[in-house]
């Protein structure tokens, strides 16, 4: 493969993979997953698993490496989102925006 193409793929892979690190850190720090969509993380993780298979089928290393790591990160967020649902039976109430405003 053309080295410029390969470099672009690797850079894209690094960015979209590394991007989940601040989300994982934020989720671990705040334990807050309320604004995060469960559906998104279910579908995204399934899709990333398929991208991994696609990468293996066509032998594209940027796709393979990126999706192994991304899958680990997205499953971490997904696990916390599922845990939120289990711990808080009143999950996903339509939140009153005014309630979040701290007057102090």
């Amino acid at each position: 493969m053309n080295p410029i193409h390969e470099l672009t793929g690797y850079l894209a892979a690094v960015l979209t993979t590394v991007s989940f690190v601040p989300q994982v850190l934020r989720t671990l720090r705040t334990r807050d997953t309320r604004a995060i969509s469960l559906g998104m993380y279910l579908l995204f993780s399934a899709g990333v698993a398929l991208w991994l298979i696609y990468g293996l089928l066509i032998g594209a290393w940027p796709i393979i490496l990126a999706n192994v790591v991304t899958l680990g990160l997205t499953l971490t967020v997904l696990w916390h989102k599922l845990r939120e649902g289990r711990l808080d039976p009143a999950r996903d109430p339509a939140r009153d925006p005014a309630r979040g405003d701290d007057q102090t």
Copy 2:
């Protein structure tokens, strides 16, 4: 390209792209982006733009189509996240988990 490979790529593309739809809908409905990482959406959107370039360079249609749509969806979430920051100067306080528990 082998049709099975191509189908896997398209299915992966559909899943990772469609996955952002529930997140966009949730963000539009609740206007809540507090648990969402700004860093993630900045890096992810930049990465998706590069995946789009990569797809164009190697002529991989699943990658091209997926990333055009994904970029539109992630930029929508990013825009709301940036707007939250502008509207709420006291953004990202370490949230007291107990505060979210509604006793009623």
